[in-house]
């Protein structure tokens, strides 16, 4: 609650209410001689004092900055205001133009409403209080009009201040959420970078063992062969995210790169070659079948011509095979 950016405004209304209460007390003391029912004036004043203390605690501490309390605030003021004329003689009321017992104290709820919900709340509250004053006094005077306009103006200013404070807080909150998201992304990026670096390191070591082992020969050559196989397997794994798209298409490159071995080279574009997953499986099976009959080296080339995908396979015995798939999914 202490984070409410409108806190200074709420506390301001409490201070204004205490001051205006003092004014009302002085006013009642000055006028009480002439009142028709002084006891009622003092009773109203007592109620005002009680309400000032209650809203003071409610708004200052923050627990009462709610719609029910503010609505009650407006309602209580209107009731007290409506009771005020009963204190006075008809003469006071109609000719001497004596202010109501609630005086300017009655304007404070409009400010509280502004602090609660911006001008959207402040303006209607000011209008309600203005209307209540008009109904109570029973006459539309220039003085009344001026008071209502001033009250509405005050409510709008407080309301604007509250809205600006809130949107600044919201901007701060969303910018801190944004910063948090950026931090998370940076952390993920860093993890990925580390993983790449580690993978790269492992690949380097495998490649080096493969190369030096073959040069040394003998038993080491067997180690070299194993390292070479693992290097290609890891490279294929890293190159192949292997996920399928929403429409059930897969990247043909990923499927075929799994077939790469030290003797089988798979060449493909740098961009994805998307095919229906069933077609891709069928193609992969065909390539696998061809490769199973190859004893020496083999090359697989994947080409994406837009409306068709071409797979060419060749072995070093000069056996060649070409499979073309129309994007519609027809094998030819």
């Amino acid at each position: 609650m202490t984070k409410d950016p409108a806190t200074p405004l709420w506390r301001g209304t409490v201070v204004v209410r205490v001051f205006t209460l003092c004014f009302a007390v002085v006013h009642v003391i000055a006028e009480s001689e002439a009142y028709q029912r002084p006891w009622l004036a003092w009773t109203i004043l007592g109620a005002m004092a009680f309400w000032t203390v209650f809203t003071g605690f409610a708004y200052w501490g923050g627990w009462g900055r709610t719609k029910p309390v503010v609505v009650a605030d407006v309602a209580v003021i209107c009731v007290l205001m409506a009771l005020s004329p009963l204190t006075m003689t008809d003469l006071q009321l109609q000719y001497w133009n004596v202010p109501l017992t609630t005086t300017v104290w009655a304007s404070v709820p409009a400010l509280a409403a502004g602090a609660l919900g911006g001008q959207r709340w402040g303006l209607p509250a000011a209008l309600v209080i203005g209307l209540s004053t008009y109904l109570t006094e029973g006459a539309l005077t220039v003085g009344l009009m001026r008071d209502v306009v001033l009250l509405m103006g005050a409510a709008v200013v407080v309301g604007l201040a509250a809205s600006v404070g809130r949107s600044a807080t919201m901007a701060r909150q969303s910018s801190s959420r944004m910063a948090e998201a950026l931090r998370a992304e940076a952390a993920a990026g860093e993890r990925e970078r580390l993983a790449r670096s580690i993978h790269d390191g492992v690949l380097q070591v495998l490649a080096r063992i493969h190369k030096r082992g073959l040069e040394v020969g003998g038993e080491t050559a067997e180690l070299a062969r194993l390292a070479g196989e693992q290097e290609i397997a890891l490279r294929a794994l890293l190159a192949a995210p292997g996920e399928s798209t929403e429409d059930g298409e897969v990247d043909l490159r990923s499927a075929l790169r799994v077939l790469a071995t030290p003797a089988v080279q798979v060449s493909a574009p740098a961009t994805r070659v998307l095919l229906d997953s069933a077609v891709a499986d069928e193609l992969t099976a065909q390539v696998r079948e061809f490769l199973s009959g190859v004893t020496g080296r083999a090359w697989v080339l994947v080409e994406d011509l837009g409306d068709e995908v071409v797979i060419s396979i060749r072995d070093d015995g000069d056996g060649e095979r070409e499979v073309r798939v129309q994007r519609k999914g027809v094998l030819t």
Partner: protein
């Protein structure tokens, strides 16, 4: 004349191993570097014939270093030696100006031959790189923008690249197409040159469009 070589790799074990292999086989290893920034600095100072470039170098990549070295040192050729199998990286490096690509698991003999051919100005194409380059030309052709200067392969160049991608050597291709070995090399080189030229033009256009070509002082 001995070929001078510079080895760029962030793994000391690999860097020193390759440097030793090359030195044993008569190359002059004039420098080594462990990151892209020092690679650019040192290359300018020693002007090697061939730079053996790893791509996975950390903050600045081997692609950046390749672009700068081939841009500023027209006599120096860059041969990419990559273990990662990150295919897009390899393609980017070739577009940035590298004249060839070799996987790190290649044998010492293959490496020696590749360095010699790179020094001689030939493109070193593995089947894998040919597949990438073919794919790149097709991607550009299919791209929706109708830029007039999009590079295109001639039918013969496409034919040669496909054969390279299917594992045929330059000599086998020459025999099959009944052309000279030299012509095959020229076709392969031409496919790379067009790609690199296009890449430089694109980079320059991008720089002009985004106001990166003028000095900040000049704007005042």
């Amino acid at each position: 004349m001995t070929v001078s070589v510079m080895v760029v790799d962030d793994h000391p074990m690999w860097r020193e191993g390759v440097a030793r292999d090359l030195a044993e086989r008569g190359f002059e290893v004039v420098a080594t570097a462990g990151d892209a920034a020092s690679a650019m600095r040192i290359a300018k100072a020693v002007r090697p014939n061939v730079v053996l470039m790893d791509l996975n170098l950390g903050e600045l990549s081997g692609v950046d270093a390749t672009l700068m070295i081939t841009g500023e040192l027209p006599e120096t050729r860059v041969l990419v030696l990559s273990a990662s199998g990150e295919h897009d990286d390899v393609l980017q490096a070739v577009k940035a100006g590298a004249s060839g690509y070799l996987v790190k698991s290649a044998s010492a003999e293959e490496l020696v031959e590749a360095v010699n051919r790179t020094a001689a100005g030939d493109a070193v194409f593995t089947a894998g790189l040919a597949g990438l380059v073919l794919g790149e030309y097709r991607r550009m052709a299919a791209a929706p923008d109708d830029a007039e200067d999009k590079p295109q392969l001639t039918d013969r160049e496409t034919e040669v690249l496909r054969l390279v991608a299917k594992g045929l050597t330059a000599r086998q291709i020459a025999n099959r197409l009944v052309i000279s070995h030299r012509t095959v090399e020229n076709h392969v080189q031409s496919t790379l040159r067009k790609l690199q030229l296009h890449n430089r033009v694109e980079l320059a256009r991008y720089a002009i469009e985004h106001g990166l070509d003028s000095e900040p002082e000049a704007e005042r």
